[in-house]
Symmetry: D2
Subunit: 334 residues, 4 copies
């Protein structure tokens, strides 16, 4: 018998991707939790029905035997839903930013909103399995990482840990994301005619994903310059990371840092010297692909990291976390 | 009576853009110089004829009264065509990289080819009007800057000149270009299905446009990290430049550096603090749009520069140079 | 001294295109009429100001010496604005569907709304210059044709007039439009992620542009099958028209019908047999490009017509009409 | 133990899609057959190897225990490879047009080439399972249908069989295809800058896929008008079919024709009245989605059919055929 997993926000892009992944997951039956009816569901072919739908209330969720709920919702909705579900013994995987930062002060600083679930903030486990795998199985409340920070932390933390970054010179992370990262709610910024044949930067230096990188990469804010940019594509994030290497002599040494850091990791793939990953290679997968380049003479180093923002950057990683939380094989269904 | 200007390579994207601009230029009649016949010309409507075409030979060019020839050709073709034209008294505006570097050694190092026109290398004037306007009117051989270096130099040189860059920390230039920058010759890399919904980095740290930035920006190679990346758009280059500011306290001071550097420039536009340019704003224009962001507390600074790679990055700037060479108003036809 | 022309709805795509065209028109100064402030205006570079803006009230408009107002607005807004402007002696060019149909009954049938300006409906001149050029100079209220009907009527009417259509077999018009045709108001249907890598049909057989084709092409509804479809591009309409030819023997005869119909027309371009137009050829122009194919043995015939939906399909044609209304050269500024 | 299946042309888009599908097929191990080495293979991550590769020679193929070979090759290559493989007892699924038509005359007429495998032309089974399922299990040489004809035949044949088409008025099939349908060999027509923001018709009335529709739909050439058009998307075909209905009164009757024709079919999905399929719904699937619209008063009818040209239009359908040929569940791996 399969485990029943609820999805709130199933009409959004992360929610739709969760539906897609879980529909093929051998151990899980997805249930859509109707929070509101907004008519945006696509027409279904005759004779085809989507997953079961029930009302998004704690009683209905518990009554339906749901053991875990994915919140693919804005932070303010997650902040409201999570406590009620946890109180009824339902585990929660939150894809929003509601529980990623560790203090209410930090949340207020970066999200410009009050946080009113301080205890849960402390309890939540940050679900980046490559770094926090040991803590995930016990998590009641799993906070799924942001899309930009997932790629940034996977690219940067091994460098900082290995001590190969000249921190005085700082680290630059130039990030580019597909439009689905902005969510499915219509807006002028994500309208077709505004995006196609265009490219633009936004939230330069002050994107609210920055603190997630600071908390997990080992860098301090003064050492880290981050720019988010909107690519005219549906899905995918590529981040180009620049730093000055120290203590290593050759590009091979740089690649070796990653090989050592990610030995045995099922979802981090490293590219041989002379090649680099691109967004095609990670589309509709849970992989983070990493490649490096370094000029030995000057120490200038560049790392390219690619993920699917809806895969390893959201729904894929959420399912990876669910697998760990419920003792399933980590890569099941991914 | 208008001046007659020849175009070699008129079937390529830069050549097509030259045709488009010159067709509307009040002082010039464009003539297409048939170097070979390749059948790729689009069908013309009934009764419509394109510009006049003549054979691309020095005799025919001189005979047709052509005073200037645009070479929208690969470097090896430019290297062959330029001397013959100059010898017959025809001025040359070369859009290739053939004459942009100042020594044959540097050319060989970056282009991996021998250069066999050393004297012309020395004679050629680098046609970035914002920095070398005084030398352009007398040029016999005008070397039109590369697309990436145009944006990079316009963004970086004022900073270096003003001394506001902490050079020990280095300067990062993360560059993204539309596909037309790769030319019109079919290749797998520029095929629709390989590019759409994709994004990728190439020539990391060793792009052959790098020396043009080093020669004109004031930076040394060890201080400059450059990555070229392919955007799924037709035209446009956006470069995100990162550096550590010194000697200035606020973002206003950074913007002021540009205001001072580009006062009166017709083709550099600066954006007010809090806003940034994007590629839509420069499409089909000769503008370079620049915006800045800076964190006063830490000195982290970001500059965004946008051009149309076929406009200010190629054909537009070539016509701006032609205007200066022939004493026409600089912005005529642009 | 230039004529002052007002634009209502200048933030929409047709309004933005009107701004672009009129900014370069030698006889006109565009004035933006602020109907509401919605903050969606893009940032302007330092020192650059857009066109003059005044309040969109009849008093302000008359006071500013404006002689003609372009209404790039939804039908209900046009229905409200037009009478007030006409009453004050200001001529009106309406780009909406408010005044294109000739009876209130027909309007209600296709637009599902009441029409409350019956007299103006009768007075309005349908501004398709190729067919109604004689009536346009005197128009007080000019109703600019819809984008789909412009291409459809230019493709079909000459065929019906020449009697070369087997009307019993009917005429099919398979139409494809870029997304800007749906307007700039954000909606899920026009969001980037819904449109890219997709293609879909809508309003099959009952699009509200159908009656404009019936009124001007000579076809009856039972003879005309029309499907609108959404292309993943910014701008452009291509319509593929199918019919059974009668009374002509060869493709040359079919092409001849168009050559005869459009002799001397500045904005209709015909393609030689063996070639067909595409959307690139008409982008950012006021042209309608037409090409034909016919199988002589069976009479199966296909006509391909291309326009820019914001050019000949909206703003371009509106300026062409303005030129005719004010006695300027018809192609001025286009 | 799994069955070993070879792929010739694995670097093309159909071959890549075959690799993708077969890699996840539980009963098959794909083997890449190296016909030539062209260096276009993408870089693989460290530690990842693609499928096994062997030389594309009959000896090597037989020696490797391969039971079936997919030819994702041009017709001339298929015509050469198929006989040699069949002679060695290897079954062949050909994705090219080499064996789709039934006579050498017809082949020469539409493909403008001689056919020199007349016997195989007669033997080949046309692999459209919805119509020829009974003949597929015994096939030695399976000819996989063209992408356009798959959608056209699935849309049209039930109408003709049910006698609801007014054949005197003819049937129009306006087809639009993504760029991958043109293959992976670089060409100007499929270059990014030529395709993006463009749309164009080609092979109007004389596309070489037309005879496949005539052979399988029940229509005669004089009754069938077909236009192929290039969509600026990677993958997907949407065909809009127009006809005059006879003998049925309502749209429900039209939909009923399809419901009756496709009862129990796993890969044809029908849409409820009032809704239509789009390309997003079939991307990366083996489905053909069909929706209808009809004006009861006049009999004008429109059918919209969608497939993924690399799925049901090529590799997906080829695997469906393989499943039938080898007695596997028809939908296995799809």
């Amino acid at each position: 018998m399969t485990m029943r997993a609820g999805i709130v926000g199933f009409r959004g892009y992360s929610g739709m991707e969760l539906q897609r992944i879980l529909a093929a997951h051998p151990r899980v039956t997805p249930i859509l939790l109707e929070h509101r009816s907004d008519g945006s569901a696509p027409a279904l072919p005759i004779g085809h029905t989507g997953p079961e739908r029930i009302a998004c209330t704690p009683d209905a969720i518990v009554g339906a035997g749901i053991q875990v709920v994915f919140l693919a919702t804005p932070p303010e909705v997650s902040m409201e839903q999570a406590p009620a579900l946890l109180a009824r013994g339902v585990r929660v995987i939150d894809l929003s930013g509601a529980f990623r930062l560790k203090t209410v002060e930090r949340y207020k600083h970066w999200y410009k909103e009050e946080h009113h679930q301080e205890k849960l903030l402390a309890e939540a486990v940050y679900g980046l399995p490559e770094f926090y795998r040991a803590q995930i199985p016990q998590a009641r409340l799993l906070s799924n990482p942001g899309c930009y920070p997932t790629a940034a932390n996977l690219a940067i933390r091994p460098l900082v840990s290995a001590g190969v970054v000249d921190r005085a010179a700082g680290v630059v992370c130039d990030a580019k994301s597909g439009v689905s990262g902005a969510g499915r709610k219509p807006s002028l910024k994500t309208s077709y005619c505004e995006v196609t044949e265009n490219f633009s930067a936004y939230s330069v230096l002050d994107h609210r994903h920055v603190p997630e990188v600071l908390m997990n990469s080992g860098l301090e804010e003064k050492e880290f310059s981050f720019t988010a940019q909107l690519l005219p594509i549906d899905r995918g994030i590529l981040e180009t990371v620049y730093f000055r290497a120290k203590g290593i002599g050759e590009a091979e040494d740089l690649l070796r840092v990653y090989i050592d850091a990610y030995a045995g990791e099922p979802f981090v793939r490293l590219y041989p010297l002379g090649t680099l990953p691109d967004l095609r290679g990670v589309a509709r997968t849970n992989y983070c692909d990493i490649g490096v380049k370094m000029d030995a003479a000057t120490g200038r180093a560049v790392v390219v990291a690619c993920i699917d923002n809806l895969g390893k950057g959201a729904a894929g990683q959420a399912v990876q976390n669910m697998n760990l939380m419920f003792g399933y094989p980590e890569a099941e269904g991914l």
